[in-house]
Symmetry: C2
Subunit: 316 residues, 2 copies
């Protein structure tokens, strides 16, 4: 039986930290990324792809701000939708090319995805996710007043230490799940929930409305994995293995964890919030929802990790 | 038997000329637009939607230019992909809300769409489509040199009379046609080919690559209508009926045209290039490719026109 895998790509799979983010750079990275995805497809898996959008949304927010006197900036739900288009296109085109080169005719398609959040999510009262440019104290003060942004100090030193923070609510449901499922059933490789999905909430009357928020892409990816009935949830990030006692002298690589161990390590505070922590939480949820195994590793180790040779495996 | 209709929305369906383009304004317009689409759906048609992106791409190009010292601008294929995300999201969410309110559970989904063009299309040698901001003569000269833009004088008077022009090649094929078809077969309302589709060409080795171009959205919409086997192609624009002798003293409304008449009027130069002309060309192609009827009318007359009460009907 063919097994379904949801692959969650980190930001570095599309734009590296040291790069400015030209189309050439991003396409180069996407080609590298898609080589690894092609290997997974050749391995006989049904592949569903999701990805982050931090660097792209960040660049778009800067562009919006620089031009705000001339063109009205768009809110975060629209920014999310735009980056889903941007990144989805690059992945979709590149993967189509590689599949064709490999003699495969599998269609690849990006589905614009809205993800439902709870309007009473506690993160709306205490925003935690930094987005967009860094500001000086004076700029921060002005923006906080003018646009009612919540701005926090995110660096201890430097001229620009401030950044806007927005809510990062928990994903509850994927609005376009039926379309995603029917595409997968028809043999299509689907790219969905990009950037954690476009955050929407449900109003009293049952209608959907975008919200100024950013959903964690691994938590949204996990929801996607549930919805498509994935067997494996593969998180590709910038480390080969998850570390215990991260940042401490007794730091050590983890080859595998049981669900119980993962829960315990989370409780003990081994993982960095906004970084490894949501990834582990996502893996725990995946296993709790009946997923078979979750793997965290780096992009270039993806196939090896699937063969059990490296990465961190989390299973029940 | 349920009939399939492709609805092509003009720019004014999402952003009006007098507006700046805030998210509030655009959502307000989209709500108005979706009311009419809902009526078509209630009329028992299988609806496929496509739309323009001129004003949104224009705003994004201005933002990119204003911030170009800080963030690298993206090329037109990526800009197209981003606006597909932006507009697709607004249409998708609003239509889902209206369908739910009407007690219908039909899924609605935006498919990121690439449209193939011929790299030898004559328009690559003589670009015709104005995009982005207006420039002074000095700005135009600088940009032409710095970015190798082709810049043309597009207004006879004023301070800023110049604008970048890009190729508007003919659409040949829709890359994501299989995904679009399987979604429609599964009962989904599909939004596709937004902004004329992301323009791509095929390289010698058979791989796809984005090009700096903008495909006419009505010509791409016609290709979409062919691909989904539509019975009706409905172009919604800012006039209720097509005019013969446009702009002349003997100008008159056309209630209907045969395919032969449409071809003759085209030859006689009755329609404005870049405006009504590509719409008529699109209708002619649709009928030639076995479509049953094409209708051109304004958004608010859509349902009346489908009932044969107004608009311009083109049939074989």
């Amino acid at each position: 039986m063919v097994r379904t895998i949801v692959v969650a790509l980190g930001g570095n799979a599309i734009k590296r930290a040291e790069e400015r983010g030209t189309a050439e750079e991003q396409f180069r990275n996407v080609r590298e990324t898609c080589k690894h995805i092609l290997e997974i497809i050749k391995g006989g898996y049904k592949v569903v792809i999701t990805h982050g959008n931090g660097p792209q949304a960040g660049n778009l927010l800067i562009q919006q701000e620089e031009a705000s006197e001339v063109v009205p900036p768009q809110p975060l739900d629209i920014v999310g939708a735009m980056t889903q288009g941007q990144i989805g296109y690059m992945l979709q085109q590149t993967l189509i090319n590689y599949l064709k080169e490999a003699g495969l005719n599998t269609p690849v398609v990006t589905v614009l995805t809205q993800v439902l959040v709870d309007k009473n999510d506690p993160d709306f009262h205490d925003p935690s996710k930094p987005v967009g440019p860094f500001y000086t104290e004076e700029e921060a003060r002005k923006l906080a007043k003018k646009k009612s942004y919540v701005i926090k100090k995110v660096k201890p030193v430097g001229e620009k230490m401030y950044r806007r923070v927005v809510p990062s609510p928990n994903p509850i449901a994927i609005i376009e799940r039926n379309a995603i499922r029917s595409l997968i059933d028809a043999g299509t490789i689907v790219i969905a929930c990009g950037g954690g999905g476009i955050p929407v909430m449900m109003k009293e009357d049952g209608s959907l409305e975008g919200v100024e928020a950013v959903i964690d892409k691994d938590l949204a990816g996990e929801k996607l994995a549930e919805v498509v009935g994935a067997d494996i949830f593969l998180i590709l990030t910038d480390v080969e293995k998850v570390k215990l006692n991260y940042g401490k002298l007794n730091e050590k690589d983890l080859d595998r964890m049981t669900l119980g161990e993962a829960r315990r390590y989370l409780k003990e505070g081994h993982f960095l919030p906004g970084s490894m922590k949501p990834k582990i939480v996502a893996c725990v949820r995946f296993l709790e929802s009946n997923g078979e195994k979750a793997i965290i590793t780096s992009l270039d180790k993806a196939t090896e990790a699937l063969e059990g040779k490296t990465g961190t495996l989390i299973s029940r």
